[in-house]
């Protein structure tokens, strides 16, 4: 008799989700799905709103990465206005986006992933959390909190609010940077470097213990997509999209936001509110790809900053060609945080950053526009249509977590096969299946644009449709 295992809720994620593992008559894993069980409807209720309200409205999709939504949305609005924003505004936004990437990666690495990595996959769930981490390694706990504060504080200095700052607007930003604020940010950098070095050393010391997890944590060939700068270096805020195959060869390059919909389609599966984007010429599901830190480091040729460059070279040694195991998302986050710190320092070193001209203005000059940015979790795409008065008539958001959806499902299947035997799993096995999803650091509330409760569950369902085992955490 076949059965289904359900993990509900999946914990230490941003958002609520559930995993079901279907067993066949012999008790072997037949299929496994990661469900996103919430729906929110941002695209629908933005209809009828003036387009220039969209960045503020869309930032409310998420409290973790509101900045990415602000930027992608503002860029879509700028396409509608047909303006190019002042260079200083572009650099200020770049810094804001990097600050958010650092705080979000710090959240993912220290608060969500580290308990598994540093306390062990088998550790008692009661201590396998950020408080347990802080008790076991207080210095590292403090470093995590410090790095998160660093990113949040920059966002607050620039935008007046830690979450949902209203500073990014269509056409640029509302206020230039003052010399005093610049100096405050510069003064925070040495501590941030030290905190990151502590985390990187800790990770490198223990990474070797996870060889078994590396093998089965969503470890398969896939294509990857991310923004790249025109000199092939990493890019979070501008640039164009590049899609590479499992060998790292470019499939398509130079995809602008306006051409995104030509290249990328969105499939729907009955078990999840999150869509499954895919590269149209390859079809669904062959055209599915991964995004986020792993994809970015697999695609770019350089980081463009000296310390991160060395770390990238070390990262690229992990595999011959693209690094395929999603376990290394954690490693990639550390490299990207270092880049973030260096780039923020570089941006602040330019005296033009204090320029007062930070806003371009225009009305509705086109009735359709799209914009993209790299959110911490991967490519984020906003696409709007407006009427002649500038009111939104249609909106579509393609979110990083959606683009990783297929890979997360494959990863859950791969891990379930490794950790579920005879229709049962151990506590450590269950946690590992969740940990696969955690490597992607998915943001479920973003991906469904949802309301309701958030915890994740695992269910084992028999061939007859009977729930034989169920674990719920909240």
């Amino acid at each position: 008799m076949s059965q289904t295992i359900t993990i509900d809720p999946v914990t230490r994620l941003e958002g609520h989700g559930k995993i079901t593992i279907q067993l066949d008559g012999a008790g072997e894993v037949a299929s496994a799905h990661f469900h996103v069980t919430q729906v929110r409807g941002f695209e629908r209720f933005s209809e009828g709103r003036p387009f220039y309200e969209m960045p503020g409205l869309m930032a409310r999709v998420c409290g973790i990465c509101p900045v990415s939504h602000l930027i992608a949305s503002a860029k879509a609005c700028e396409a509608i206005m047909s303006v190019r924003i002042p260079p200083t505004a572009a650099q200020l936004r770049r810094m804001l986006n990097l600050a958010q990437m650092v705080q979000s990666h710090a959240l993912s690495f220290f608060y969500l992933a580290s308990p598994d990595l540093l306390l062990g996959m088998e550790a008692d769930p009661a201590v396998r959390n950020v408080l347990g981490l802080a008790a076991a390694n207080p210095a590292l706990g403090r470093a995590g909190i410090g790095l998160r504060r660093f990113g949040q504080h920059i966002i607050e200095l620039l935008g007046d609010k830690r979450v949902h700052p209203g500073w990014v607007v269509p056409g640029g930003v509302t206020e230039p940077l003052s010399a005093a604020k610049r100096d405050q940010i510069l003064a925070m950098l040495p501590e941030a470097y030290a905190n990151l070095a502590l985390a990187t050393d800790a990770y490198k010391q223990i990474a070797g213990q996870f060889k078994a997890e590396v093998e089965v944590f969503a470890n398969f060939p896939s294509s990857y997509m991310s923004l790249v700068h025109e000199d092939d270096s990493i890019e979070f805020t501008d640039g164009t999209l590049r899609l590479v195959d499992a060998e790292g060869k470019t499939i398509e390059d130079g995809i602008t936001a306006n051409r995104f919909a030509e290249a990328i389609g969105e499939a729907v599966e009955p078990y999840s509110y999150t869509k499954f984007p895919y590269y149209k010429p390859l079809g669904y599901p062959q055209g599915c790809y991964r995004v986020g830190p792993l994809a970015r480091l697999n695609i770019v040729k350089s980081m463009g900053t000296p310390k991160a460059e060395k770390e990238l070279a070390e990262f690229k040694q992990l595999a011959d060609g693209p690094v395929a195991s999603s376990f290394y998302y954690h490693h990639a986050r550390l490299v990207e945080m270092l880049y973030g710190l260096e780039k923020i320092e570089e941006i602040l070193a330019d005296p033009h950053i204090l320029d007062k001209h930070v806003r371009a203005t225009a009305g509705v000059n086109r009735e359709e526009g799209a914009g993209h940015a790299e959110a911490p979790r991967g490519v984020l795409h906003h696409h709007y249509k407006v009427d002649e008065d500038g009111k939104i008539t249609w909106a579509n958001l393609v979110i990083a977590t959606g683009q990783n959806n297929h890979a997360m499902n494959r990863g859950v299947m791969q891990a379930a096969k490794a950790y579920v035997q005879d229709g049962r799993f151990t506590e450590g096995g269950l946690n590992r299946i969740e940990a696969v999803v955690r490597t992607f650091d998915p943001c479920l509330s973003c991906s469904t644009h949802a309301f309701g409760q958030m915890p994740l569950a695992v269910e084992i369902v028999s061939a007859a449709g009977e729930v034989v085992d169920r674990v719920v955490r909240d």
Partner: protein, 237 residues
């Protein structure tokens, strides 16, 4: 007795105050540093008693009177801050929030909104009434301004500013009860109306119902304080 010496004496919140005949209770209270909450009242415009937040109790009367239009009488004993009044004021605010779609977090006036500030001042923590979720269109046809009826509280400041100060009387009111709507001309689109583009209605609007296009509240808070100055200049001519 000359007009200068014609004085009314009354008490407001047990404080003895004197007033000229014809002054409103609100005027006299504010002259004496006593705060009575208002939303539709604005210095420089006539008063219409639309919002009812300024209701006060008069000793010897069961009726509550709107302080912005009730005139002082000799020997009146006025209370402005009783539990009954506070309850009524909170209910009025709840009704305002429930009637249309006031979503502070994504509003252009967030942090600079008189309705929001009043709700905080009156200690409104939640709305006990079910929201209506009424559907109102946004009029974005004007090249400079936008009207979002979702955020309108029908204080009619725009109507009064347009008629009394600008002298254009483009804004007016149609419908009754929950169908009541401020309109431009005979319900034309704002962009096609006889609007003089002066923007006074936008400056006096207490919420995000009328606002400048492409501007969010944090970058340009409204400044409704210009009206007394305009009136003063007009009288000086």
């Amino acid at each position: 007795m000359s007009a200068e010496n014609d004085v009314r004496t009354l008490t407001i919140d047990e404080q003895e105050v004197s007033a000229r005949p014809g002054q409103t209770i609100l005027e006299v209270a504010r002259e004496n540093g006593i705060n009575i909450p208002t939303l539709c009242h604005l210095d420089g415009l006539s008063d219409v008693g639309a919002c009812r937040l300024c209701l006060v109790e008069i000793k010897g009367s069961n009726k509550l009177l709107p302080a912005c239009v009730a005139t002082v009488q000799e020997g009146m004993e006025v209370s402005t801050d009783t539990e009954r009044l506070r309850r009524h004021r909170r209910t009025i605010l709840e009704l305002l929030f429930a009637e249309r779609n006031h979503v502070c977090s994504v509003c252009v006036s967030n942090g600079h909104c008189e309705l929001q500030a009043m709700a905080q001042e009156q200690g409104l923590t939640h709305v006990r009434l079910p929201y209506r979720y009424a559907k109102f269109d946004v009029d974005a046809s004007h090249d400079r301004f936008t009207a979002d009826h979702n955020r309108c509280i029908l204080c009619l400041r725009c109507v009064r500013a347009c008629a009394e100060i600008e002298g254009a009387h483009v804004w007016d009111v149609m419908g009754r009860g929950i169908d009541c709507l401020v309109i431009t001309d005979l319900h034309e689109q704002w962009g096609n109306s006889t609007c003089t583009r002066c923007g006074k209605c936008v400056q006096v609007c207490p919420t995000g119902a009328l606002f400048e296009k492409s501007k969010i509240g944090t970058e340009r808070p409204k400044d409704p304080q210009f009206l007394p100055y305009l009136n003063l200049m007009r009288e000086a001519q």
